[in-house]
């Protein structure tokens, strides 16, 4: 068991436990905290793979901005713990095995594919910031400009949606 494999299992276990906690927690704030744990664990996995820039961006943008937005909205709307509904129990009893079957199917398909069977060669940092930014501004410049436009539209949309109606 090499150190990398051990670290991988620790981080993977953390991510899966965080995702399971997202499902089983009653209060949305606890679900949000579990999702933050998942994101930090994934950032650790990116670091393990050598993708340092993506790991930092994941924590800064996803964990530090998007999830802060979620937490603010939960606090603003004063979301409480989930109440009991009279949904059918049969759906739960039949549904969970089906969900497990779905992800088991996915996992088996992935494990059997010959593509991923090669052991990846670790060669230091995967792609440093310079390579990523060169590619971003040369080959992907058109999607890059489109996403900046998309963000502008999203900001305008959020402002329009959240303002109070003029009575």
């Amino acid at each position: 068991m090499t150190p990398q494999l051990a670290i991988f299992f620790v981080l993977a276990m953390l991510a899966v436990l965080g995702a399971a906690s997202l499902i089983f927690q009653k209060h949305p704030i606890h679900s949000a905290l579990s999702l933050i744990v998942v994101m930090v664990a994934l950032a650790g996995l990116y670091l393990l793979m050598g993708a340092e820039f993506v790991a930092a961006v994941q924590i800064i943008v996803y964990g530090g901005a998007i999830m802060v937005l979620f937490v603010f909205v939960i606090m603003l709307l004063n979301a409480g713990a989930e109440e009991h509904t009279n949904a059918s129990k049969l759906a739960g009893i039949a549904g969970i095995p089906l969900a497990v079957a779905l992800l088991g199917f996915l996992a088996v398909v992935v494990a059997r594919s010959s593509e991923g069977a090669q052991v990846s060669v670790q060669s230091g940092a995967l792609a440093n910031t310079k390579e990523i930014s060169t590619m971003l501004f040369k080959e992907f410049v058109y999607p890059f400009e489109l996403t900046s436009f998309l963000i502008l539209v999203a900001i305008l949309g959020a402002i329009v949606l959240a303002q109070r109606e003029k009575s």
């Binding site: 090499t2 990398q4 494999l5 991988f8 993977a12 991510a15 899966v16 995702a19 399971a20 997202l22 499902i23 949305p28 679900s31 949000a32 999702l35 998942v38 994934l42 996995l45 990116y46 793979m49 993708a51 993506v54 943008v61 996803y62 901005a65 998007i66 937005l69 979620f70 603003l76 709307l77 979301a79 989930e82 509904t85 949904a87 739960g92 969900a99 497990v100 992800l103 996915l106 996992a107 992935v110 494990a111 991923g116 069977a117 052991v119 990846s120 060669v121 995967l126 792609a127 990523i132 971003l136 992907f140 996403t147 963000i151 539209v153 999203a154 949309g157 959020a158 949606l161 959240a162």
Partner: protein, 100 residues
């Protein structure tokens, strides 16, 4: 060295858990968070493939996915705030009619 398979299996597991949360939870914000979980699982697959093939395309795609997720979160949470104000509840089972 960790085989790429392991990362892909983990990505599949996280995606499956995201789908499960999407289907089973009743709070609309938690459902939204499960969408983010699914996007994260996909990001992991992207980076895993980028490492396997030694190209940085995958990581650039991850940046785009993160940006699109941010834009979607902003607009989606705006819609959620409006809906919660109108219907006084965050339970998706109460949002099943076009009428209030």
């Amino acid at each position: 060295m960790v085989p790429t398979n392991y990362y892909l299996i983990l990505s599949a597991i996280l995606f499956g858990l995201g789908v499960t949360a999407f289907v089973f939870k009743r709070n609309v914000i938690t459902i939204f968070m499960s969408i983010e979980l699914m996007l994260n699982a996909v990001n992991l697959a992207f980076v895993a493939f980028s490492q396997a093939r030694h190209q940085s395309d995958g990581q650039v795609f991850v940046l785009f996915v993160i940006v699109v997720a941010a834009a979607e979160a902003a607009v989606g949470l705006g819609i959620i705030i409006l809906t919660a104000r109108n219907r006084q509840s965050l339970n998706v089972e109460r949002v099943d009619l076009l009428k209030l």
